[in-house]
Amino acid sequence: MRITRVLALAAAIGAAALGTAIAEEEIHFPAQKWSFNGPFGTFDRASAQRGAQVYKEVCANCHSLKMAYYRDLGGIGMEPGAIAAIAASVSVPTIADDGSVAERPALPSDHFRSPFANEKAARSANGGALPPDLSVITKARDGGEDYLHALLLGYGDAPATMKMGDGMNYNKMFPGNQIGMPRPLSDGQVDYSDGTKATTEQMARDVVTFLSYIANPEMEARKRLGVKMVLFLVLMTGLSYAVKRKVWADVDH
């Protein structure tokens, strides 16, 4: 009986392995080491702050970050003064006292300003392609952060045999290999104030760290809570098991 059970289990695992093996026909991107991986992971503050700079200077020309507030930058260690200054450097639409449409400097409590007024404006500025909102982008793609990192580095020359669409760019990580986004990052594109060398890889890593934070601003609190809960429940499991043993000690079963 034991043997049939083991066999059954082996067969089930075999079927599962076969299943995943057959499924793996898609593009491969290498798993990266991220500061936020694992149960104790945290966002690398310096990297995320540099990433915020990359977003602001590069990606924000095309991509919105609708769900994030300027105050969220506090979660990656920026000082309130710096955040207020960043917000104030952006103007957001408002309705003036006389009812006319006007602009005012943004406050930390404002959402990040979107680069385009609406989808049509975004598309017409990007050759018909729509730059997606990046607020939850790391959760919205299989492969998450690893995929994004690979995508930003995946640009190159199209193979001679490939017929590229109008305004399309070759990217070996994008499904179909043709993407409407022109290569956004190249070496030295931004000036990092902390002296870090702005290689393409470094900028990709930083902006992905930032976007991962924006998609999961609760992650550090969540993992801290998780560690406490797991410790507590391990203790409770041990305790209740001990009590159960004691209660059952006199039962012949």
Binding site: A8, I22, V136, G144, R222, G226, T237, S240, Y241, V247
Partner: protein, 423 residues
């Protein structure tokens, strides 16, 4: 005084209430001294776990509903607002979303426990059938809940599943329009799904109450599958099973907490973090993992109506299972052939789960058909026939005396040895 209950509780307040409304006496009878077979293994924890899970779902759901907006243009953003702007909103949402997965894990184990130990057999047929009703209501609730965040998978999942009803001859198309409240999945659909998703868990509470009420009439089955013969076979529910359930609850919460805090999106499709877009069909529309076996059965035959019938048939056979299985012996322990076929069935169902996750191409079509065929073969042919052919092993005389004739020490507490029963 006529009609008043004679309460034995010493506490005067409790006594006063109990005299007029004997709920304390009832709880004492049903959960305090309730005679429970003494030989449960840990698989008997899962009913209690399912009950706790239901309470967790309702508790988190009520608070989510306070912050959620059921409108096509706001639903997606309102869920993300819950995650970001509501105090511990991320905890509420991740507990609720992963709670659905935990609920199905727990319930599926609970069901397979019933299949292995023959808990569906007389006199527990109705208890089992109420269980199948619970499963159906759970599925409807989970399906509609998944639509609420209004991501791509919400939208397209709802479109695919509601479209199944168009397979009904003649009136199909009308039924679908009626379900949608329009000519496609849209705001009216979202609104009614929200309303029903709020309602159905409370229906579940009612059905679970019936499930437990029926259980407390027949009493629990046990790993030996034989009837309780004497008080020596049982223990009072409290403290023995309250304690044993506590151990299970701690382990369950441990797994749940780790899932929520360390891998909250493990069971979630990335696609559902993209707002619903009726103009863009995702490359693959895959339901939540707990529907995958049924989804595979749905796609096992080339006909839409056939697939729908098979899918509902897969649950219908569970409903009549007590009459399909003709063996009088409950526990698989004493059924040398069924014991192995149980595992084959489990493999078939797991295989169907994998098939459901893949496009119906190549090997997956074949696997899906073979496993679907076997699923129905198991219930419709093997079980009825096997009961007649299989020679069960000798059953123990009683729970407290596991060895049949000859062996076995003196009975604890001098339980009366009764002649062996047929079932």
């Amino acid at each position: 005084m006529a009609g008043l209950h004679k309460s034995d509780f010493a506490n005067p307040v409790i006594n006063w209430i109990d005299t007029r409304l004997p709920i304390f006496t009832m709880m004492q009878k049903e959960y305090g001294v309730f005679p429970t077979p003494k030989n449960f293994n840990y698989f008997w924890n899962f009913g209690a776990l399912a009950m706790i899970n239901l309470v967790i779902m309702i508790a988190t759901g009520i608070f989510l509903a306070m912050n959620y907006t059921p409108h096509v243009s706001m639903a997606f953003d309102s869920v993300e607002r819950i995650m970001r702007d509501v105090n511990y909103g991320w905890l509420l949402r991740y507990v609720h979303a992963n709670g659905a997965s935990m609920f199905f894990i727990v319930t599926y184990i609970h069901i397979f426990r019933g299949l292995y130990y023959g808990s569906y057999k007389a006199p527990r047929e109705l208890l089992w059938m109420i269980g199948v009703v619970i499963l159906l209501v759970m599925m409807a609730t989970a399906f509609m809940g998944y639509v609420l965040p209004w991501g791509q998978m919400s939208y397209w999942g709802a479109t695919v599943i509601t479209n199944l009803f168009s397979a009904i001859p003649v009136v199909g198309e009308h039924v679908v329009t009626w379900l949608w409240g329009g000519f496609s999945v849209d705001n009216p659909t979202l609104n009614r799904f929200f309303s029903l998703h709020f309602l159905l868990p409370f229906v579940l509470v009612g059905v679970v109450f019936l499930h437990i009420a029926a259980l407390h009439v027949t009493g629990s089955n046990n790993p030996l599958g034989i009837d309780v013969k004497s008080p020596q076979d049982t223990l009072p529910f409290h403290p023995y099973y309250t304690m044993k359930d506590s151990v299970g609850i701690c382990v369950y919460l441990l797994v749940f907490a780790a899932l929520v805090c360390f891998a909250p999106n493990l069971f979630m499709a990335a696609e559902n973090y993209i707002p619903a877009n009726p103009l863009v069909t995702p490359s693959e529309i895959v339901p939540e993992w707990y529907f995958l076996p049924f989804y595979a059965i749905l796609r096992a035959v080339p006909s839409k109506l056939g697939g729908v019938l098979l899918m509902f048939g897969a649950i219908a056979v569970l409903f009549v299972l007590p009459w399909l299985d003709t063996s009088p012996v409950r526990s698989a322990k004493f059924r040398p052939i069924y014991r192995n076929l149980f595992w084959v069935l489990l493999i078939a169902v797991v295989t169907l789960g994998f098939v459901g996750a893949h496009r119906p191409e190549g090997i997956w079509v074949v696997l899906g058909r073979v496993a679907t065929f076997y699923y129905f073969l198991h219930f419709l042919v093997i079980l009825p026939v096997l009961g007649k052919l299989e020679r069960p092993l000798p059953l123990p005389e009683s729970i407290s005396r596991p060895v049949t004739s000859g062996g076995g020490g003196p009975l604890p507490g001098g339980a009366a040895a009764k002649p062996m029963e047929k079932a």
